[in-house]
Symmetry: C2
Subunit: 259 residues, 2 copies
């Protein structure tokens, strides 16, 4: 399996490259542009994995899986329903999810597939949309669940999902990924809580990229969190959430009670 | 009046500096850091004004003025209610607002004061929050109004307000601005449609910056659109919206039927 990662070396320098069989080939240039392999080959044990891309925004979908939509008694949407999570919400594999200083309530995990955009993208037809997808990674779309409906007049999607560390992405970006035959598995402290087929999604990745590119310009490295299905639940302080998708990898993050 | 602008010269180079009495003193370095005046002094007639900052996100408040809140019959919120508009939605003074390719419905203007963040800002107490405000500018927070409630289960705030060109900001950033004694005036094709006192706001700028900095890290250049009051309405294709705030300036943008 060959996938793209970003990493930090022991002395602090940040790089990116291709991971294959525990060996990292560092690249130079732009991951989404003129990337060329360098002579630098490392063991994956000598680097710390970072979020594999640096999005300017995370577009997070709601109600994009039939099983969850039916369970909630909602009709399937006619257009992707989304909120925007800020760049400051993004962390990588192994980094702690931090409980907000002012929030003592329930924090929920949502294991999801994430699309990584590879090229600037505006008003793209659906049959060209796959050309704008660089690859796929895992995301844990974290939510401060009790804030969502705190105000009776305004659902606080951006606030409840926008906190620093609430978009965990990684561990790597897989370019050749067949989502139709893959499952998302989420484990909370090693107990399986979600296991759903990506084939159940309402808007396919190409449909999402096309539709959302008619709503806003998507930039290289931007992430679409394609929505979750049944089995979401809350994370206790100190608990670890693993989102795994065969063909991509395992994304693991622990909720810190923080400072 | 002395204020900060970004501009483009005739040959395409982009700069920033201080505008005073039609004279622009170009600065070097970082507007929010080590900015130092250069020897380059220009006439404002020789530059094209751009959006005065380049936000990574626009945090846009809903229900932050008592008059509008009462008119809508809503209770005042206990925390700022906001959505996030992407960086790609931002344009400057004089740039056309573009009708989305796939949307033929009503497009609404909202004249507002905007806060420009000057320093990275997280968990800031209210009595220190003014130190993180670089200054103030005008914003027209544009909305594709008919999309907002298109889906019965999910208010599409980010979609209806997140289109490219839907955050018009400028013309300049005023550092010394007394919001307590200022009005926001919005004119549609030279007819006054909004004229409201900023003293009617529910959460003050310092309260907004403090509260929102507990929800996410704010970065230099980020913008908070502090919410609008009564008098919002729709813009016909070809119509011009002017948002003016005494002590800051006049922001003018025309709705183009686009391509």
């Amino acid at each position: 399996m060959k996938s793209w990662i970003r990493f930090r070396l022991a002395h602090g320098r940040i790089g990116f490259g291709v991971l294959e069989n525990h060996r990292v080939t560092e690249y130079e240039g732009d991951m989404f542009g003129d990337a060329v392999p360098s002579a630098n080959v490392l063991s994956v044990d000598d680097v710390t994995l970072l979020n594999p891309c640096v999005p300017t925004k995370v577009v997070a979908l709601w109600n994009n899986f039939r099983a969850l939509s039916e369970k909630l008694g909602k009709v399937a949407p006619s257009h992707p329903l989304f909120l925007i999570k800020p760049s400051t919400s993004v962390i990588g594999p192994g980094e702690p999810i931090q409980r907000p200083q002012t929030y003592a309530g329930k924090i929920a995990y949502e294991g999801e597939l994430a699309i990584v955009i590879g090229k600037r993208c505006r008003n793209v037809p659906v049959d060209e949309a796959n050309d704008y997808i660089f690859g796929y990674t895992c995301i844990n779309d974290v939510t401060a669940a009790e804030l969502l409906n705190e105000d009776p007049n305004f659902a606080q999607w951006c606030r409840s999902k926008g906190f620093d560390t609430f978009s965990c992405i990684g561990p790597a970006i897989q370019r050749d990924f067949d989502w139709r035959n893959a499952h998302v598995v989420t484990r909370l402290d090693n107990v399986e809580r979600q296991n759903y087929s990506l084939s159940d999604m309402i808007f396919s990745p190409a449909e999402q990229v096309s539709r959302i590119s008619h709503d806003m310009t998507l930039l290289p490295g931007d992430v679409i969190a394609i929505g979750t299905s049944i089995g979401i639940g809350s994370i206790k302080d100190g608990s670890t959430v693993e989102v795994s998708i065969e063909g991509i990898g395992v994304l693991s993050n622990t909720l810190s009670s923080g400072a």
